[in-house]
């Protein structure tokens, strides 16, 4: 939290957690899918489900999936924008068990057929947490440039990724590692202090045992 979280953010109301947070979850999810969303199946849990309608949580989330920012005046009309832009969506309720009250689970499909399964929570004041990506536990906020690197679960690959970043003078703010099961694929989630340049992303992909690199840039979509 910084000073502009106290005076700010500029946002469309009525709720920082139920409206601005939902819009941010949508927008970050679209960035993680790394392409325009064609289809979204959305499941609201807890307080999102109970009071979402009155807070415009549904419209805010769809607005985010369309790439709108939390202060976009078009948020209330996002459903009609979605129809125009060819984004199909379904919205339903779900009980995800012992998770944050403001949690949503989504299955996204992009225009070229890319898919993403994501669980995210709006944790207050418009801040969010990505809790799960494609079934793997995660914990990041979308406030930092974030690398999601899929690697083979073998000795040395984590060190390889971090030393490649070190060589390019990219400082790691936080880092998490999780895996499906021993010897299969693992995922590194790395929040960085600065943006990771395009050539570094390409270079990372050439590393041994590195399967896939997804990058959440804070600059993404600024020209949209």
């Amino acid at each position: 939290m910084n000073l502009l979280d106290i005076i700010g953010p500029v946002m469309v109301g009525p709720s920082s957690s139920h409206t601005a947070g939902a819009a941010k979850i949508g927008r970050v999810s679209r960035m993680l899918l790394a392409e325009k969303v064609r289809k979204a199946d959305i499941f609201f849990h807890g307080s999102f489900l109970a009071t979402g309608k009155g807070h415009g949580t549904d419209r805010a989330l769809i607005a985010g999936l369309l790439g709108m920012r939390v202060d976009d005046p078009a948020i209330p009309e996002s459903f009609s924008v979605a129809r125009k832009e060819g984004l199909d969506f379904t919205i339903a309720g779900i009980d995800l068990g012992d998770v944050h009250p403001n949690t949503v689970k989504m299955y996204l499909t992009g225009v070229t057929g890319r898919t993403l399964e994501i669980v995210a929570a709006s944790v207050g004041g418009g801040s969010i947490q990505i809790c799960e990506l494609d079934g793997l536990a995660a914990n990041f906020s979308g406030d930092y440039p974030t690398l999601i690197v899929r690697i083979i679960d073998e000795p040395g690959h984590v060190a390889e990724v971090t030393s490649m970043l070190a060589e390019k003078s990219i400082n790691i703010a936080t880092m998490q590692l999780s895996r499906f099961s021993r010897g299969k694929n693992a995922v590194m989630i790395i929040e960085c202090d600065g943006e990771v340049p395009e050539d570094v992303l390409k270079w990372l992909l050439q590393g041994k045992g590195i399967l896939k690199v997804t990058y959440l840039s804070l600059n993404y979509g600024q020209a949209e």
Binding site: M1, N2, L3, L4, D5, I6, I7, G8, P9, V10, M11, V12, G13, P14, S15, S16, S17, T19, A20, S47, A50, T51, K53, G54, H55, G56, R59, D71, P73, I75, P76, G124, G125, G126
Partner: protein, 289 residues
């Protein structure tokens, strides 16, 4: 951000740097930006507050239909000269309604510190500028003072209704606005912190009990109360009346009350006004939408 208002007061006393400048220097250090960048960003927040006030639309209704046109009614009453509170406070009341009503109707506002309490700080600051003709630079300085107070409250206690009840939202906003008002009137750091303490003291224990869990009833009208409370706290301070409990201890009291508060009155939409006969009926009606 600072952990104690006493530290900001000390910085002003020892280094001779005004309250708002201490807050700005801390922001620059924390986010690695220049004074100019920080100032420009804060100016944008003030501009967005002014814009939200100007873009008010009295014809809108909130999701539940409970909120809409209050700001317009207040404006008419003020212009008719009917108010017991007079035109200055009347304008503050009107602006508090307009911004928080806009929030309830899904328009663009500035969370300060939250969306539910977004009407308090702009109601006080925008009215002071319109009526007393402060420069935009002075207004941004006041916004820094307000932000510094909010930052300490956030660090020391909480600023969300879910964590600490309405005292944490409207209470914090009122403390911030009071500090901003004193900054505009040339008060020193001690006076700014005192106004914040007086404002927060009055709102200790306030429950967060929104009907149907929505940021509408009683939130919109509590913004009016928070703004007016900020004015009286600023006036008390400038008259030389001081809180007997130091500002940081008042914030700590708010925290301990918030911790002791029942979950039913911490933004769950269960207890208090939400749990009344009428509040429950409204919730049931919303659930069918």
């Amino acid at each position: 951000m600072y952990e104690a208002l006493a530290d900001i007061i000390l910085a002003e006393k020892e280094d001779g740097i005004p309250f708002w400048k201490v807050v700005q220097a801390d922001d620059c250090a924390e986010r690695g930006i220049t004074e100019e960048e920080s100032f420009a960003q804060m100016k944008k927040m003030y501009d967005a507050m002014r814009e939200a006030d100007a873009n008010y639309d009295g014809g809108l209704k909130s999701a539940s239909g409970l909120i809409g046109s209050e700001g317009l009614k207040m404006e008419k009453a003020r212009e008719a000269g009917e108010l017991l509170c007079g035109s200055f406070i009347g304008k503050v009341m009107e602006k508090a309604l307009k911004t928080s009503e806009s929030n309830a109707c899904m328009k663009r506002i500035v969370a300060a510190p939250t969306a539910g309490s977004c009407g308090v700080v702009p109601a006080v600051l925008l009215t002071m500028q319109e009526e007393r003709h402060y420069t935009d630079e002075q207004m941004v300085e006041a916004l820094y003072a307000a932000a510094g107070i909010g930052g300490v409250i956030a660090n020391r206690a909480f600023i969300s209704g879910a964590a600490g009840g309405c005292q944490a939202e409207i209470g914090s906003a009122s403390a911030m606005a009071a500090g901003g008002a004193v900054q505009l009137q040339g008060g020193n750091a001690e006076e700014i912190a005192n106004a914040a303490a007086l404002a927060l003291k009055n709102l200790l224990g306030l429950a967060c009990d929104p009907v149907a869990g929505l940021v509408e009833v009683p939130c919109v009208k509590r913004n009016v109360m928070g703004a007016v409370n900020a004015l009286t706290s600023a006036d008390l301070t400038m008259a030389g009346i001081f809180s007997k409990i130091p500002p940081d201890e008042v914030i700590d009291a708010m925290k301990s009350i918030g911790r002791n508060m029942h979950e039913n009155i911490k933004e769950t939409g269960i207890g208090g006004l939400a749990g009344t006969f009428t509040g429950t009926k409204i919730r049931e009606r919303m659930a069918k939408l």
